[in-house]
Amino acid sequence: MKLYEIAHARTGDKGDISNISVIAYRPEDWPLIEREVTAERVAAHVGHVDACEVTRYALPQLQALNFVLRGNLRGGVTRSLALDGHGKCIGSVVLEMEITGQPRGEERR
């Protein structure tokens, strides 16, 4: 199953830092997302394992994760030569991540 089936995302930028939110559509999928979508997996998935530092923040009451990718934008939108200098498209790429495991059908907490 792709993460896309159970979550939505939005990407923003500040300077050379991207942030990507990953939000569960249904509360019952939150435990699976919280377990599977780690900072390490996001870093590997977007191909920036060495190039940036990824930090994950969790907001359980909103069933949402926030990933902060430092040094992700080649200097940021004002300097970057990239077509998508803001890195706005990255969130959609993160949602293509393969998730293993079944939703538990219950909400944690």
């Binding site: 896309y4 939505h8 995302a9 939005r10 923003g12 930028d13 500040k14 300077g15 050379d16 830092i17 942030n19 939110s21 939000i23 559509y25 977007v46 191909g47 930090t55 923040y57 907001l59 009451q61 909103l62 949402a64 926030n66 902060v68 200097g75 940021g76 939108v77 004002t78 300097r79 030569l81 990239a82 077509l83 998508d84 498209c89 990255i90 790429v93």
Partner: protein, 448 residues
């Protein structure tokens, strides 16, 4: 006041104007806020001001003001905006002139002091690790993200329109709440909550269903006529986020959650000039159609440091594109890119960085799609950061030359050339930034 109604009239410089007019006419708003400054916009505006001392404010100021001033004046809605960019004073004078043309009598205030170019030299920039002075003549602008005090002062003085330059985006919305409710500047919880209201509204339609639609998965009704958001804010700082009846779009828990985290790093520490806002305990509850109740934000004392954006000239960018389609289009695109690098080898010393993409294959995440999949078409794109304009010009010429001297079947060349205006950042003690509010009266000599 028991409740304050604030609307968002713009979330970026080029935002749509019709939804702002709708809010001005039907929103029964106390305040309409236009957020129009991106990271680089002040630096561009500063360049415009250097060329013309009367310029340097938002190029859409005239259109926006003409569109909303009559309804705002009629309905008692006060306007707050950062459209002053690099020249709030000139923007305020221009707004006075527009009001007079429209037969309106308005008090317009300019908030200045964010421009700290004259004292930035010794500050070390995060991105370069060197003092700003090392940039020498390349240094263009330095603007501090100011907080609410200057805007509050202008509102306290009775301004109908408040125009500032660089300010923290949420501060544009927090200021009227501080003004109306008389919140103390050390009431960290309320300042944190007001910051959240501003954060949710500052990107206009991004909380009402814009930047959200994914057909069949996340559908948004009547996106074509999307309405801009407004907040009904209570004295305790909690709020309802909603939009006008009859407009397109939607306000839901999902749209609010996406915007809550948009451009946030640690949700418990959202650094602002007036407070460190804490969004980690926020609750969002759908309390009616297109109505979401927001509660539970908090805050702690501000750091006392203001972020400063420093604009500097960073060389020239030459860029161009050409399309290839049909069988073996990827190989032809890659051949074109290889030719470009070979032909530009003689000016490699003037190219500090380049980027080679095949749009449709690997322009977003380089190398990720490399494999056997063959798209029906690709668009070659090549961009280079160059030391001088002539080299950047040469880049575009070589891309265009792929027509006659490149792979088979290339078409649709576009190319561009521009000076790169880069932004770096640093921190400055808030005490070093002297913010000033000035209300322009009708009789002011500057109006003539």
């Amino acid at each position: 006041m028991s409740s304050v109604r604030i609307g968002a009239g713009a979330g970026f410089q080029g935002d749509r104007i019709a939804p702002a007019v709708d809010l001005a006419e039907r929103g029964a708003l106390d305040f309409l806020v236009f957020e129009c400054l991106a990271e680089r916009t002040v630096a561009l505006a500063q360049q415009a001001r250097l060329a013309d001392p009367a310029a340097g404010y938002d190029p859409l100021l005239d259109r926006r003001m003409r569109a909303v001033l009559p309804a705002c004046a009629r309905n008692g809605t006060r306007i707050i905006t950062n459209m002053g960019a690099a020249n709030p004073r000139a923007a305020a004078e221009r707004t006075c002139a527009i009001a007079r043309e429209l037969g309106l009598s308005l008090r317009v205030a300019a908030v200045t002091g964010d421009d700290v170019l004259d004292r930035i030299q010794d500050y070390v920039l995060d991105e370069t690790g060197a003092r700003a002075s090392a940039l020498g003549e390349l240094l263009v602008s330095a603007n501090a993200y100011i907080g609410v005090p200057g805007i509050v002062e202008a509102l306290d003085a009775g301004a109908d329109v408040v125009i500032c330059g660089r300010a923290s985006d949420p501060a544009l919305f927090l200021a009227p709440l501080v003004h109306c409710f008389g919140w103390a500047m050390n009431d960290w919880v309320r300042l944190g909550r007001g910051t959240l209201v501003g954060h949710l509204l500052e990107c206009s339609a991004q909380v009402t269903g814009g930047y959200f639609a994914d057909p069949g998965v996340k559908d948004v009704p009547d996106l074509a006529h999307i309405g801009f958001p407004l907040a009904e804010v209570s004295e305790d700082g909690n709020a309802i986020i909603t939009k006008l009846p009859g407009t397109g779009g939607m306000v839901s828990r999902a749209t609010c959650t996406e915007q809550l985290l948009y451009e946030i790093h640690d949700p418990a520490r959202y650094l602002q000039p007036d407070v460190i806002a804490d969004f980690s305990g926020v609750s969002l509850e759908e309390v009616g159609p297109d109505r979401v109740a927001v509660s539970g934000a908090s805050g702690i004392a501000a750091t006392g440091q203001l972020k400063v954006s420093v604009g500097y000239r960073d060389g020239w960018r030459g860029e161009g594109q050409i399309s290839y389609a049909g069988a073996n289009c990827v190989a032809r695109g890659r051949l074109g890119l290889a030719l470009l690098r070979e032909r530009l080898a003689d000016c490699a010393a003037a190219i500090s960085e380049d980027r080679a993409d095949l749009i449709g294959l690997d322009s977003i995440l380089p190398e990720r799609r490399a494999g056997t999949w063959e798209p029906p078409e690709v668009r070659l794109r090549y961009a280079a950061r160059c030391a001088d304009e002539a080299t950047a010009q040469r880049v575009g010429e070589e891309i265009e030359s792929l027509y006659l001297c490149g792979p088979a079947g290339g078409g649709g060349v576009t190319r561009s050339l521009r000076e790169i205006l880069a932004i770096a950042s640093t921190l400055m003690p808030a005490a070093e930034v002297a913010v000033r509010a000035e209300v322009l009266e009708e009789a002011t000599a500057y109006l003539r």
